[in-house]
Amino acid sequence: MNAPPSPSPSPSPSRSPSPSPPSLAVRSLAYAYPDGTQALYGVDLTIARGERVALLGPNGAGKTTLVMHLNGILTAGHGSVSVAGLPVRPDTVKEIRRRVGLVFQDPDDQLFMPTVRDDVAFGPANMGLRGEALDHRVKHALDRVGMLDVIDRAPHHLSFGQRRRVAVATVLAMEPEILVLDEPSSNLDPFSRRELGEILRGLDITLLMVTHDLPYALELCERSLILSGGVIAADGPTRGVLADAELLAAHRLELPYGFAPPT
């Protein structure tokens, strides 16, 4: 049911749709929690390399459940997930977790080591990197989010916006195929929100952003999906999705007051 990747040229250079397998392919994914609550009813979606896609949806639509499937924390009840051609299975989960960089909503959950340096090194060190190579990887990742100067600080001594950026770096350090962000703009002041947006836009990486922040989706993602009631209810250019007031209303999504729908 889902459309092919948007033909419009991607703003990130050199990552135009290529014959390589899509960064993310989800096929008729269904999942019920152990208590019987059905969260996903058959999700289909494909994200090509270099695309930036927003996953929109009201609370309880199954967004978080879907995200948990992308790196094998939950395993599909039915259907399949594959990342750059590699299916998510118990025996591939280690490589899958390297390929899918998950940035959680609360940076205090993501940053658990005593210093920023240790935290950013956690992922690559688990992949076996040591010494000089590890150090280089850590510094490069922090540099990409402009946080190199806090490398020796403790995460709980940083501001919220700084912590969110360091959380992005912890995942970038694993050089993932796709970056998945859960509500990246939540709890950020407008300045930090814009700063983070600029950083995300500057990354040359496939990006899936789970959010209710529709203007943020419009700003950063050329394509949007609406997940509602456990299925993909809409898939198209963000501009078009946000301009469809009826579609938004049908899925409990709203543009902020005073925000003109894009035309």
């Binding site: 948990m68 790196n71 924390i73 998950l102 205090d108 658990f112 210093t115 090194a121 709980h156 501001s159």
Partner: protein, 253 residues
């Protein structure tokens, strides 16, 4: 919270004591405390010498007396307990300023006070000169079971987060007119404690997910420098060694 945070017990510096690797300082502290505890309480002058040794360390580490004194408040419960003993002690009694005190109790109180104070001061000096993270590294190099080091690490990382959560819950209670005054309010406070426990437990689950997402497989990678040199070991050993000489001299006296 956020920026503008300062360490409450670590005092940044660049003294000999600060530069000593943690895996030397921790055993040195443990050795010193063991010697102090093993010294007989009748050998009062030995405790004076121990205090001088610690003062020497404090001077070398450039930790001012006021800094140490303020943090010694933690000892208060022991002091209170020690003060009570001479009154409730049995056996032979003496009159001091009109009060009847037990001789055995006085000795016991002195024993607790002297040894606890020396131990607390030594601990404060270690904490003042060793970053919390270095302490964990030291524990790991000393082959403390990795699980214990990880638990300590998470405690260190999440202490502030949980204290902050607790503060928010208290503010939320008080904003709605709750002021704990008597015993009947205890259930409310207890329920808050329960809620805090559940919140922390759920955070633990989320942290575990975040760890799994980055390839956690049981081991905690931490940047590690070179090990301690024999010279550093010797420097750190000076404190317990000097204390041991004093203790042996004291027992032969």
């Amino acid at each position: 919270m956020g920026a503008g945070h300062h360490h409450r017990i670590f005092r940044p510096g660049d003294s000999v004591v600060h530069r000593l690797p943690p895996e030397c300082k921790i055993p040195a502290l443990a050795g010193f405390v063991l010697v102090v505890v093993a010294t007989s309480r009748e050998c009062m002058w030995a405790f004076g010498v121990y205090a001088l040794l610690l003062a020497g360390v404090a001077v070398a580490a450039r930790v001012p007396a006021g800094f140490v004194l303020k943090r010694m408040v933690i000892e208060t419960p022991f002091v209170l307990f020690a003060v009570i003993i001479p009154f409730i002690g049995l056996g032979e009694r003496v009159e001091v300023a009109g009060l009847s005190l037990s001789v055995e109790g006085l000795w016991a109180a002195w024993n607790i006070l002297a040894k606890a104070t020396l131990g607390v001061v030594a601990g404060i000096l270690l904490a003042a000169t060793t970053e919390p993270r270095a302490m964990l590294l030291g524990a790991r190099r000393l082959k403390v079971p990795p699980l214990l080091v990880q638990i300590a690490m998470f405690m260190l990382r999440y202490m502030d987060v949980i204290v902050d959560e607790m503060r928010r819950m208290r503010v939320a209670r008080e904003s709605r007119g709750f002021t704990p005054r008597d015993i009947r309010h205890l259930p409310v406070v207890a329920r808050s404690a329960g809620a805090l426990f559940i919140r922390s437990y759920e955070r633990g689950e989320r942290v575990h997910l975040a760890m799994m997402s980055r390839g956690y497989a049981g081991a905690m990678p931490m940047a590690d420098g070179p090990g301690a040199s024999w010279r550093q070991w010797a420097t750190a050993a000076a404190l317990p060694a000097a204390a041991l000489v004093v203790a042996v001299a004291g027992s032969l006296w």
